[in-house]
Symmetry: C2
Subunit: 81 residues, 2 copies
C-alpha cells in the first residue's frame, strides 16, 4: 500500500521558489495569478506491513527525515488510486 | 480560485531524490519501504478570471514554465478545499 506525505512551508516562511515562479509567470504575460505556493510530495510504497504499521512508518519517515517541524506543515494520507 | 499543478517524473526517468530517500530510510531502520517517488506541487491562486480562464492559464504555466514534457508527467486540477 502507498502513503502520500505532503510537505509545505508554514505560513510566514518565505517560499523562494514560489516567488520566482510568480515573477516568471508575470514576465511571460500569464496574468491573473495572485499567489503561488509550492509543496513537495513523497509517495511511499510499503510491502509486507499492515496499513496501520505503514502509516506509523510514514510518520516516522516524516519526523526523522522528510520534514523540519520548525518550517514545514505536513499531511500524511493513504495515496489515492 | 486555486488550481493545483502536480509535476512528477515519467516512469523510467531516474528520481535521484527518491533514491536517496529510500537509502536514508533504510539506514534509519525504517523498513518495509518498497519504493519512493517524489512529486512537486504548484498551487496557483487566480483572481479576476473565470474558472475556465484560470484552468487555461494554469495549463499555459505548465507548458511554458513548470514542466518539461520530455521527462515530466503533469496533472492539473481544481485545488481541493
Amino acid at each position: 500500500m502507498r502513503w502520500e506525505v505532503r510537505v509545505e512551508l508554514k505560513p510566514g516562511v518565505l517560499d523562494a521558489e514560489a516567488e520566482s515562479i510568480a515573477k516568471a509567470l508575470s514576465r511571460l504575460g500569464i496574468a491573473g495569478v495572485r499567489r503561488v505556493a509550492t509543496a513537495r510530495i513523497y509517495d511511499l510504497e510499503f510491502e509486507n506491513v499492515t496499513s496501520q504499521e505503514a502509516e506509523r512508518l510514514a510518520h516516522d519517515a516524516v519526523d526523522r527525515l522528510l520534514a523540519n517541524p520548525v518550517i514545514h506543515r505536513v499531511t500524511v494520507r493513504a495515496a489515492p488510486g
